[in-house]
């Protein structure tokens, strides 16, 4: 689903991502960890096609990003630190906007389903400005799932989701494995994500320093392993 | 000088002066690069000297 080779992105002289190789198979869920400034968010933004790599090749969902970014975007769901919704539009208007941008055929039915799923159906006609942080992030979750993405890219999802949202997300990641959807979860809380991830990738100074399976391992053991390498 | 010759001279003087000033500016940058190259060479020389010192020291032990 994702194949990166020798990926480099520099801000000026500083290489935030410095030659990263990464391969993701369908149904795989990767916990991407590392200290602040290790380059994990930059890597996620590269895969989300929000940044352009200066060298290396990147293939997402079968599309070479250099020339097929837009085709790949249709299959990517990106959950950022910010909810990426307009505060002065209602929850439904925001989802309608994204539904049109992604060209969803059953837009209105899909929006009702998702609003119900994230528990915001009752507030769907209120502007996002009146929402709590957790509610806004649940709306962001609905926004991310709206177009049925095959690749989920999550940037510190547990930092801003409330308990209910986190449970929804964990359920989604659980289902992803069965559906053959892949996910990359950037995180600080390795033991939290280890429960739903199959692989741990650790970055340090722009490079991948550890890439191993966590299948069947105890979350605390994964945590210790992370602290070892990072 | 008659019939506004001073204006013609002034116009050409301005052109020559500003173009020359531009060339001098570019030259100043080249000179700076040259100085940096020299500084770097000195640094390299010093480093080489230190390295040969430590090597001879290792030989003795």
């Amino acid at each position: 689903m994702v194949t990166a080779r020798g990926l480099v992105h520099a801000y000026g002289e500083r290489r935030a991502v410095d030659g990263v190789d990464l391969a993701l198979a369908p149904g795989e869920r990767v916990a991407l960890a590392g200290a602040n400034g290790a380059g994990k968010s930059t890597l996620l933004r590269l895969v989300a096609t929000l940044l352009r790599a200066q060298s290396g090749t990147l293939e997402v969902l079968g599309e070479e990003i250099a020339d097929g970014a837009r085709a790949a975007r249709a299959g990517i769901g990106y959950l950022a630190h910010d909810p990426l919704v307009y505060l002065d539009l209602t929850a439904r208007q925001n989802l309608e906007l994204y539904g049109d941008l992604y060209g969803i055929d059953d837009r209105d039915a899909r929006i009702d389903d998702l609003l119900d799923h994230v528990g915001l159906l009752g507030r769907s006609e209120d502007t996002v400005r009146t929402f709590s942080r957790g509610m806004a992030q649940r709306l962001a979750l609905a926004r991310m799932l709206l177009h049925r993405p095959r690749l989920l890219l999550l940037d510190e999802p547990h930092a801003s989701l409330d308990a209910r949202g986190a449970a929804l997300l964990d359920g989604e990641l659980e289902a992803a494995r069965a559906d053959g959807r892949a996910a990359i979860i950037v995180t600080h809380e390795v033991e939290r994500v280890a429960r739903v991830a199959d692989r741990l990738v650790v970055m340090r100074a722009g490079r991948v320093v550890c890439d191993e399976s966590t299948d069947g391992r105890d979350p605390m053991a994964v945590r210790r392993r992370y602290e070892e390498v990072a | 000088m008659s019939g506004g010759a001073q204006y013609v001279v002034a116009a050409y003087a301005v052109i020559w002066f500003l173009v020359l000033a531009y060339v001098v500016m570019l030259g100043a940058r080249t000179a700076r690069v040259g100085r940096q190259v020299e500084a770097m060479m000195r640094m390299l020389d010093r480093r080489d000297a230190e390295r040969s010192d430590s090597e001879t020291a290792e030989d003795r032990t």
Binding site: Y11, R52 | V8, A11
Partner: protein
């Protein structure tokens, strides 16, 4: 790979163009002052025309080069095109300032006032100076990849604004005033035209020589920076 490039490429080209430009500028200066015939109507003042117009056209060439470099930069994302673009616009801006100054002197000589809003060339070049001065304001407020991309886009948009400014001022002129002064090549005596052509060639060569020199300096700086980084890491 061996050590960083000992010789920066382009030295010979810069030297050749530099010599050519110097020779042509000297020859055309001599020609303009001593050889070319005196204009019947304007007298000696007309001699400003040779460099004034030649440098104006050379500045347009510079902006065109920057526009093409911008297109290529956007296509290849190669920082060398950014160098070409910035160096060209810097020289073009220098030339446009010279056009405004010499034009202003010309206005003083023939109409007794430093500034004439009805002279289209003077007014349009003032606008051109403003357009391309903004290029450097834009560059100084962004960094890295964005700087190159934005500069390239602005070089393209700016080059589109140039003919628009030219034409808008001339449209306005043609309705309000009859054009006060035209010096088109068509009604120039032969030897005047010949010296104008030499001046034009001199100014174009001057542009290319300054551009080569500037690019040479940039390449050296870049090679030096790479060398310094390798030394630090070694």
């Amino acid at each position: 790979m061996t050590d960083g490039p000992a010789r920066v490429p382009g030295q010979r080209a810069a030297a050749i163009w530099g010599v050519l430009a110097t020779v042509l500028v000297v020859v055309s200066s001599i020609g303009v002052f001593l050889v070319a015939p005196e204009d019947a109507d304007q007298g000696i003042i007309q001699r400003i025309f040779y460099f004034h117009v030649a440098i104006a056209i050379a500045s347009l060439v510079a902006f065109a080069v920057a526009c093409v470099a911008g297109i290529l930069q956007l296509r290849t994302r190669d920082e060398r095109w950014d160098d070409v673009g910035e160096a060209s616009i810097r020289i073009g801006l220098l030339f446009s300032v010279l056009v405004v100054i010499t034009g202003s002197i010309w206005a003083k000589a023939s109409w007794g006032t430093w500034w004439v809003w009805t002279d289209p060339r003077l007014v349009t070049y003032l606008i051109v100076v403003l357009i391309y001065a903004a290029y450097f304001v834009l560059r100084s407020s962004v960094e890295d990849d964005r700087r190159m991309r934005y500069s390239a886009i602005y070089a393209i948009a700016g080059f589109a604004s140039v003919p628009l400014s030219f034409y808008s001022v001339r449209v306005a002129e043609s309705f309000v005033h009859p054009v006060v002064f035209t010096s088109s090549g068509a009604n120039m005596p032969g030897s005047m035209l010949w010296w104008f052509v030499v001046s034009q060639a001199a100014m174009i060569c001057l542009f290319v020589a300054l551009l080569e020199l500037d690019l040479l300096g940039r390449r050296s700086e870049r090679a030096l920076r790479r060398l310094a980084m390798r030394l630090e890491s070694a």
